[in-house]
Amino acid sequence: MLGRKACNRLTKLITYILLTMISLVCVFPFLWMVITALKPETEVRQAVPSLIIHQPTIENLLKVLFDTGFVKYMRNSFVVASAATVLSMIIAVMAGYVLSRYYKRRIVKLSNVGMMISQMIPGVLLLVPLYITMQKIGLLESYFSLILAYTTFVIPLCTFMMSSFFDTVPIELEEAAEMDGCNKFTTIVRVILPLSVPSLVSTGLYAFINAWNEFMFGYVFLSTDKYRTITPAIMLFKGANITDWGGLMAASVIAVIPVTFIFLFLQRYFLEGLMSGSVKG
């Protein structure tokens, strides 16, 4: 038998090996994007691909940032994604709470089914009907069309995620709060939400990334450059006959960097053991 220490060391070794392998696979395409973005056109188009950049250039990055209105597109994406995140989280916390606590009520079951079915329509069949809906309520050509659509798309998952977390919050905590004279609203805000920070952040992150990366509705609802979001803007580099890989990769790298920072900033809220000991004490 291995001693406890040896066993720990072995676990650590395995952890490092596995994580290194997985990380390599995860990062490699992004690395390739960065490398391509920094290559001049003649190197991008070489017959034999190379990981080494012979004459690094920031031409692609500059072109994307300053000649194509990319800063504006990023701002648009940021506005749309943030609004959709906030809205969907508010809605999801409320619906998720009900889903968790009153699961046996018929109306709750029904909405649960409705939410599931709402996820089953392929995007291409949503295109025309959603366009017509947006047209009828007069939201085409505005941020609101996208905010409304992205919020709606993520409500089901966010609701289910929040509800699955609320399931783990002991009902006794709530009862105690209600004894102290809190109503439902204050109970949720004061007792349950502080406990839910990790889930709130990870679910909110999902809503944000989903909106940030969405492609199809981004160009169908909007016909003005002023409101365009980044994903449709990135795809413009895929020309009819020739793809501008340098531009495409530079644009993609630029689009990924801000969300990476958001992620880096937020991860301490759901990963650093904020919860230790507070639940199910």
Binding site: V128, I132, Q135, L140, F185, R228, L236
Partner: protein, 455 residues
């Protein structure tokens, strides 16, 4: 306590609902401020109806009106640079305001279908010729014949391009660009292999030791993706075959099955594909490739010769070492057939629900003017009087007379069947005869589905 809670909840939801409503209202509100606009495009109009301009330009035809224009140029490319200058000039001269947005063709197609189904199309788009039939059948295209009658400049456009944009003697589009297909040849590689440029299919199929001598495959095909039907109609046309032919009732039909000779010719075309692969004249892996792979392989010198278009001119810059020796030659044809090539007459469409058709046609014809064509499409112009001194222009222009186009029917099902028929031969091991008769049937089935089959 209970009431208290309820009140809170009510407030909470009320707040949320108010938020949603106010969103809707702000957007609806802008509608009301519009003097004339239809309720559907409030957003667009607030954006563009610059009143100051309108005041100054009252004397001009445009009267400050907006032209909603969806285009497909690549950001940072030559077409964009040339066109932006010309748009500015157009606005100054006519008093119209051009409101342009850029898309890829795929994006544009889905977007136009959605917008047109909702009766809210733009005024002008730069589209693909493959859409002509389907848009026309949907009844969303404006008949431009009356505009054409007043358009003097049309005589400068290639006749083949103009006829590609007609359906039963009516015009449904204005050209903006023309590209042709030709055999692009790496002279150095051919010299290395010690071969002449092949003139016929037989010459191509004889290049069996090219790979040994030059180290690369002599020829290429686009067996999958959008370009493979464009390639297949060329080879079919070289035997005088049409994908479908117009009948007396104005509808279409594939008639190969009625004529054993035609079916045999179609089978020979598929036999050609099969021989190319079997004899090692094309890369065996290429049976699943699209144009991205084959173009790239030609530009980087992996393929000796390839049937493609003059957009590879751009690759002279990115691949100077391998693209320096390129020559443009006619596409090889069967010795018992005739020369042919595909002519891609890129159209500008105006829709029957467009709000500013006058302005749209003014812009469309300006795009087709000599000045604009020289600025943006110098070596791939739809006009006979615009060309450059490079092989990319002259080498291609000589071939224009042999150009064929797709018939103006709904092509989605037909082009898919064409791709499938090539896959039947190259991947499923079906015989060329089977593929030919299957394709003939599949084309007619697709025509029947879209209600365009002649009975």
């Amino acid at each position: 306590m209970r009431n208290h809670m309820k009140n809170h909840l009510k407030k909470w939801t009320a707040l949320l609902l108010a938020g949603v409503m106010s969103m809707a209202l702000t957007a609806c509100g802008s509608e009301n401020t519009q003097p004339s606009g239809k309720d559907t495009d409030a957003g667009q109009e607030t954006q563009t109806g610059a009143p100051a301009d309108a005041g100054q330009d009252t004397a001009k035809a445009g009267n400050g009106e907006t032209i909603e224009f969806w285009t497909t140029w690549v950001p940072g490319g030559d077409i964009e640079a040339g066109s932006l200058d010309m748009i500015e000039k157009f606005e100054a001269e006519t008093g119209y305001k051009v409101n342009y947005t850029v898309y890829t063709y795929d994006m544009l197609h889905d977007k136009v279908i959605s917008a047109a189904s909702a009766g809210n199309p733009p005024d002008l788009i730069w589209g693909l010729p493959e859409w002509l039939g389907e848009f026309h059948n949907m009844g969303i295209l404006e008949d431009l014949t009356p505009y054409y009658e007043k358009w003097e400049d049309k005589d400068a456009v290639y006749e083949s391009v103009l006829s590609a944009l007609q359906i039963q003697d009516h015009y449904y589009a204005v050209p903006h660009e023309m590209t042709l297909r030709a055999l692009e040849v790496h002279k150095d590689l051919n010299a290395k292999a010690g071969v002449e440029v092949p003139k016929t299919w037989e010459d191509v199929l004889a290049l069996t030791d090219y790979y040994e001598k030059a180290g690369v495959y002599p020829y290429g095909i686009a067996a999958a993706g959008v370009r493979s039907p464009q390639e297949l109609i060329v080879y079919l046309a070289q035997y005088g075959l049409e994908v479908c032919t117009i009948q007396d009732d104005g509808k279409y039909k594939n008639t190969w099955a009625e004529n054993p000779e035609d079916l045999a010719k179609a089978a020979k075309v598929f036999q050609f594909y099969k021989d190319l692969v079997d004899k090692g004249v094309v890369d065996p892996a290429s049976v699943t490739w699209g144009y991205e792979e084959t173009d790239e392989n030609f530009a980087t010198g992996y393929t000796g010769m390839y049937v493609t278009g003059n957009w590879l001119e751009e690759r002279e810059k990115s691949n100077p070492e391998t693209m320096g020796d390129v020559d443009i030659c006619p596409i090889p044809y069967p010795s018992d057939g005739q020369p042919a090539t595909y002519i891609e007459a890129k159209p500008q469409y105006i829709f029957s629900d467009s709000k500013n058709k006058e302005g749209a046609f003014a812009l469309a014809s300006a795009v087709c003017s000599k000045e604009w064509q020289e600025a943006a499409f110098a070596s791939h112009s739809a006009r006979k009087d615009v060309f450059t001194d490079t092989i990319w222009s002259k080498g291609f222009a000589n071939l224009a007379d042999d150009g064929v186009v797709f018939p103006p029917v709904t092509l989605g099902g037909i082009t898919q069947a064409m791709i499938d028929s090539i896959a039947m031969v190259l991947q499923d091991g079906k015989s060329p005869e089977d593929a030919a008769s299957w394709l003939s049937e599949a084309i007619n089935q697709s025509l029947a589905d879209s209600g365009e089959l002649s009975e």
